[in-house]
Amino acid sequence: MMTDDNVRAETIRNKKERRNLYRIIGSYTFIIGAAIVLFWVLCAIFGRMLVPFDPFADDMLNSLSPPSTEHWFGTDQLGRDVFSRVIAGARDILTIAPLATLISAVVGTALGLVMGYFGGVVDEVTSRIVDAVLALPTVIVALLALTALGTSIVAVLFVIGFTFAPIIARTVRASVLTERGLDYVSAAKLRRESSLYIMFVEILPNIIPPIVVETTVRLGYAIFTVATLSFIGFGIQPPSPDWGLSISTNYGLIGGGYWWTVVFDSLAIASLVIGVNLMADGIQSVLND
């Protein structure tokens, strides 16, 4: 049953949301960030079909040759074409990091809704657990968990998913606390709606903006963490052309002047995380005022 007032409120909200969407798409930081991210997403999807060389093909006669017109970014220790590997290297990290972020967003949102809505003992206990998780750096939690569980992509997904979830939960909890006292929640309670319904159908749609901002920021950190874990050998495994992994196998050579084996992978990681961060910044600056 929808009264006229409700319909009017709904239209105003839709208009506001659409205006915000236009402003986000129109902000410079968002456009630049989105363009960079889109480039790497396209590389991740189509890269392997378009590259001039097979990113896995060895060519020992041509190993460690500097950039040339044939090999734009040179070749690595095994003679593999660095340009093709950088383009193809987008795939694994752009699969794992978004999946891990999705896990943390789902778990974190559910956790935050429960903490904020019920409050009291539930909130106290979960808050202390969250504090404990946040007291150790993610890389160290990951090292510990991956040593115990063995290194695998699934383990990496869950370690990042569960260490980031508390951070998202904290943001969601804060938003729920301000929503909880509003009239529409009291009305729903008076209608004797179930707690689950109130949390997920009434409150959740109203706190989407902070969740979107926090999730985009987390995506940047997920890429950061996956790249770091791959660099120290606990993440993506050979023979993947992943950027962090390539840097880890080649950085021993940089003292000898073979800069092209690491510099392009480094720039790829830097551009991707900065791109995601610029998108987050664009969204945040619009939604915050």
Binding site: T29, I140, L144, T147, F231, W259, N277, D281
Partner: protein
């Protein structure tokens, strides 16, 4: 306490089962988990961290040197990043909403998200390999003096500085803006104090309080960054100790290293609270 068969993990999948059993018995890892835990926690409380599986020597010896080395590295990083972050934050606040403020915010944010090993590699290539201004390894020759040690630590601390300075600048900016808008600042200006005097004595003192707690919470991220930096620059610190222990499945070393990191976090948080209380007369406890 980690799950899994320790002897099997150390000797590998092809080792003879008898050898695995013998090793487990020698190290006491065939006893019930609860007994092992009781043994470990009572040892830990008495200051005995156990023997390293990999080196067959007390963990505490390795831990002490590693901790000292990491402390030196983080100190150099902090001495660079705290003044820089605060200075940049103050500039951003005084230029609020102008182009320079926006540039500082975007650059700080971008710098804080680039992984340490990426910025580290680029710094090594530019300043180590190409210009040859700094050594590409952080380990100084034995017997090196104070200034030589600092010289070796400058390049490794820059990636940590890049990660942290954006946060510190952002917090300083927020604190500054709050203080600039406050009534007492208006009063100070109206009573005829010079602008630098107002900023220095009234605004900064209040603005820097929240920054102190941020600096303390950032130590956690700093230690996470140490793992990568110490591997990249071949430096024997707590980060590379934890990493090597994880690689060799040296559980006593790994546990001790992680415990120390957790303890450091608690200690720095406490220290920050104490400094905060000392600087802020409103929450000074105990005295009248």
């Amino acid at each position: 306490m980690l799950p899994g068969n320790v002897g099997r993990a150390m000797l590998g999948p092809f080792a003879d089962q008898r050898a695995v059993d013998l090793l487990n018995h020698e190290m006491g890892t065939d006893r019930p988990y609860l007994v092992q835990y009781g043994d470990w926690i009572s040892g830990f409380l008495a200051g005995d961290l156990g023997l390293s599986y990999a080196y067959r020597a007390p963990v505490s010896e390795f831990l002490a040197t590693a901790l000292l080395n990491s402390l030196k590295l983080s100190l150099v990083a902090f001495l660079m990043v705290v003044p820089l972050g605060i200075l940049v934050g103050v500039i951003a606040a005084l230029q609020r909403d102008r182009a320079i403020d926006r540039v500082i915010s975007v650059v700080g944010l971008s710098a804080s998200i680039v992984p340490e090993f990426v910025s580290g590699i680029i710094l090594i290539l530019i300043f180590g390999v190409s210009l040859r201004w700094f050594p590409i390894s952080a380990t100084w020759p034995t017997g090196a003096g104070f200034f030589t040690q600092i010289y070796y630590l400058i390049l490794p601390s820059v990636p940590l500085v890049l990660i942290l300075f954006g946060y510190i600048a952002r917090m300083t900016r927020a604190g500054m803006i709050e203080a600039l808008d406050a009534e007492y600042t208006r009063t100070a200006i109206l009573k005829g104090l010079s602008y630098p005097q107002v900023i220095w004595r009234h605004v900064l003192r209040n603005a820097l309080l929240p920054t102190i707690s941020v600096i303390a919470t950032q130590t956690v991220y700093l230690i996470g960054g140490l793992v990568v930096i110490e591997i990249l620059f071949h430096y024997q610190g707590i980060g590379s100790l934890i990493f090597t222990a994880a690689q060799k499945r040296d559980f006593p070393m790994l546990q001790a290293g992680v415990m120390v990191v957790g303890a450091l976090f608690v200690a720095t948080t406490l220290l920050a609270d104490l400094i905060y209380a000392a600087l802020n007369p409103r929450i000074r406890l105990g005295s009248q």
